[in-house]
Symmetry: C2
Subunit: 203 residues, 2 copies
Amino acid sequence: MTKDISTEERILAAAKKIFMRDGFQGARMDDIAEEANVNKALLHYYFRSKRKLFEIIFQETKGKMLPRVKEIFESDMPFFEKIEKFVHSYFDLLIENPALPLFIVNEVHKDPRKFAEQSGFLEVVRPTMMIFMQHLNDEIKQGRVKQIAPMHLLMNIMSMCIFSFLGKPMFQMMANMDELQYQFFLQQRKEEVVRFVIDAIKA
Amino acid sequence: MTKDISTEERILAAAKKIFMRDGFQGARMDDIAEEANVNKALLHYYFRSKRKLFEIIFQETKGKMLPRVKEIFESDMPFFEKIEKFVHSYFDLLIENPALPLFIVNEVHKDPRKFAEQSGFLEVVRPTMMIFMQHLNDEIKQGRVKQIAPMHLLMNIMSMCIFSFLGKPMFQMMANMDELQYQFFLQQRKEEVVRFVIDAIKA
DNA sequence: GTCTATATATGGATAGAC
DNA sequence: GTCTATCCATATATAGAC
């Protein structure tokens, strides 16, 4: 038994699992309690309300995405290498947290403002985007990259990363892949997406 | 007043709007009733239960995607033209139904089996995929298209279409676009995605 | 801190008048 | 067909014993 983990920690871990799986509305406090092997009342003892508990999970989870993206794009790697690192890093993160994309997409959809406000999302993203755009425009001027609007390129890259997870159930059905096969497919996609992007934009 | 529209039709329209916006769990019968300007009890009079009402919306909505995809890929257009038609067609459909992707992704996520079973999704998709793969492999053999695994190409194309809508709130924030600007962005993406894909795969 | 028992709120569903 | 009133199940939240 992992009884050296505090009750509070166990609740947080359970909550993360259930919220990720079912979203805020779909998740039930009973399920979280059961998953954490504690009484339902304890959730309220520690975290007061479902909403509060959720916020903690959400905040913590959000924070994972950005720092590494920032780090990559602020480095002085060549442009294509930044793309490669970015895609690999993104895929690795999402392979560890496969429910994250649907979770984030849903929560942002429900309340975009809240997402923007708390935890200074924009304050981190905007400067990083600026650097990306600057580097891209340089490459275009140098004639190494075809003319392309930065937002479209960014959207294309992020699409191919994130949708690999959002579309998992549908693609698994369509291609009749079991879990193992899909994991292999995801590993392939890391290389595949990089190659695809570079082939699309290199002059 | 559009009072020549039957109550039943008004309820269906309202239900579609609310279910699209909030998903099955999130939607409330009260909201649907209010949106349709009828009493809550009437929803049950016409459709018996929330689940039943939902199924009707879901079925109807699902049916829109596939037929045109099927039609395009079963035609005898050149390969690149198929891609172009597919992307344009997909975007146009989703511009008309921007909430569809999140709706579908959520419902498939909650119960992949059900999605597969009802309305013979696989029976339509699988043959169409076969044709796509066949045509792609021909093009590769002819040396007009680079070597690429069909499932990856398919995933790439669908990603860039669908995620343009799933990621809308986040991208709008990041790029500080208002509604009109995002609509323009989406129109651009039709051309942009086609160009991107063709540049990526043409030999 | 952790439990049992219970209060309270929400939302789907039904009964019955009109 | 449409309404009001009400029931009932589910799920969040709190009270109080240990």
